[in-house]
Chain length 195, copies 4
DNA sequence: CACTAAACGAGACGGTACGTCCCGTCTTGAA
DNA sequence: TTCAAGACGGGACGTACCGTCTCGTTTAGTG
């Protein structure tokens, strides 16, 4: 409805539809109406049909998620703060997102799975990012001596993604608790205790 | 194909179909033929229709996965061996499973997602199981003094599930490497080094 | 809607639609609604789709036309009366038929053409029928001596069909004129003048 | 493909397409390609769209048919020869024409029907033409005394068109047979026997 | 032993959505 | 200006399933 590229408008509409009716329930007709576009045009933009649309919309949405998380985290300065903020903001975004909440439903959701193949990718990206942060910490002399940065970043990445996907007991809305978790579990053996 | 309960025969057929054509591609007609049953009967057994069938077949298959993993692990005696064996056997089963391999495909698969909601559940079950193992280790005096068993089991669970779902660099077919991983990363600060 | 066979109900609906909107304009959806049937069912009855439906409905309707004409003609006793009645009733039915009137429209109509292939067939049937009448007349001694019955019946058939399809000057609603036409043109050299 | 008027090029292309794929099967895209023209241009030349194009192309082709038949017939001198030649050449042209042959197919063809509305018109034109020939014969003293020229020309026209559209037993490729037919059936009671 | 009731097989139907084709309109850019 | 090129909305087509229903038929279980 403006100068937003047609493709993006359609993907955005698809995401909104998925949030509303659930991924398996919306029809391309719904998306077309939501995007203010004809069904034909969707097939012109995504020749692979529904499948391609869902796939691309999903990765597009995932990218947007991490982009926003990245921006939020960039405002912080220390590694610990970034982890804490990342966990809290991420959990909040997930909670807010209607997709994720509907994803809790026992009914089947393609989106989550369309998002599956991107998991190893995400793992890699996040790990590299965290590694760069760790290196910075190391250069600042705040990392323990015997620490293997590669191994440590992989480890922190796993814990982060795991906690984000299933908090399991930790209340990520509580900053103190989250910070406690990050300190003891995530960075325990890595970062030297602040004096 | 004889005195096996009808329900199970249908679910097994559904799993086979999912392995073959992918979850979104098979029709109830396919399942019916595969199970040597009429389509009507499927609706009689699963009044919720396709959705219920996929859901139940998925969790049924997941349960089978963990059951088999459990049996394999039960043969081992120490915590470390159980973790190593669990990781290796689990990874192997995932690799062998045609569903999982097709799941790598970028195309959409409901099964994986039908399996999603069980994730927190699985987390809980595995954590409790590992916790019981840790308690045993503790009673055997093989756990470090300051270790919080609850926290440690949660931690080991996260690492296990994470590594299973995305190995990311670790070769879980290599026992030495896997054992090394388990020792240093999983049980590093928890179990006292064997003398 | 009753115990009328589904197939016939659909064809009747198709004919009504053709009468209404013109043959090229109606959609299978229209026919489905008109027949009180789902679109799917039409495809189940006519696997050849729209084409087959139009084809069959057309010949079905043509057959109905000639059947009714045959009944009307059967009431008459002499050859001349049958021809006169046939021409008049036929012209009247064509005039009444909304299909035929819309067929006058310069716009394209498939029905008329779907009916085309049946033309030689119709020619044969009508010729045989007229031949049988001629033979009866001959046996009654009312046919001229040198008349070749085969040739004569073919001739009368051509004139009949031609006049029916394009009257061109003759008013087939006027019995006197029609009878005059039949006597002088159709049976002129064939039947012996009544004394 | 050069200075031939755009309109004619398009209609010629339409006729070729109709000959190839059948009338209902070709798309405007096909015609555009065949005519070496953009689809837009077709709409500029035929604002009525596909319908107008088919209509005009059909009558254009029909006119061409009769024009060519007229030229062939003009070479003959007597009425009988013109009729014989007309029947034979006409039948031959119809047989050769790929459109007409495909028209025999049971599948639906708009062209034939687009040509339908012109039937009464054709009847009138042919009749007037034949009437003029008959008048000439009459002036040459070769027509029977009691013959009504109007009625006779109408009659000959009907027989001619009828035989052309459905020969029904007569072999119009055999000159002797055709001539025999024309003499006995068409001109029997009209033209005085040549001495 | 027949009779009935439940479970299954077979198949028709309504309905939803998909992917495709084509039409007719419009805009943009180049000759 | 005229035309080519191409995007778009819209309508219909033919197909694939789903879920529901109604019939036979087989199989047990019971009077």
């Amino acid at each position: 409805m403006s100068d937003v590229p047609l493709r993006d408008r359609i993907m955005a509409a698809a995401v909104r539809c998925a949030e509303g009716r659930g991924v398996r329930r919306f029809s391309l007709e719904d998306v077309a109406v939501e995007a203010g576009v004809s069904r034909t045009t969707i097939y012109r933009q995504f020749p692979g049909g529904r499948e391609q649309l869902v796939q691309e919309a999903a990765t597009w949405e995932v990218a947007r998620f991490w982009r926003r998380l990245g921006r939020a985290v960039a405002a912080e300065s220390t590694l610990e703060d970034r982890l804490v903020t990342g966990l809290m903001v991420g959990a909040d975004m997930i909670a807010r997102s209607r997709i994720m909440s509907t994803l809790q439903d026992p009914d089947i959701e393609e989106l989550a799975v369309a998002l599956r193949p991107s998991e190893p990718l995400v793992h890699g990206v996040i790990r590299d990012y965290i590694r760069s942060l760790l290196v910075a910490e190391q250069e600042a002399g705040r990392v323990g001596l015997g620490v293997d940065v590669d191994r440590a970043s992989d480890y922190v990445t796993r814990m982060t993604l795991s906690v984000l996907s299933s908090p399991a007991g930790v209340d990520l809305a509580d900053e103190a608790a989250t910070r406690q978790l990050v300190r003891s579990q995530f960075l325990g053996g890595i970062v030297r205790a602040e004096v």
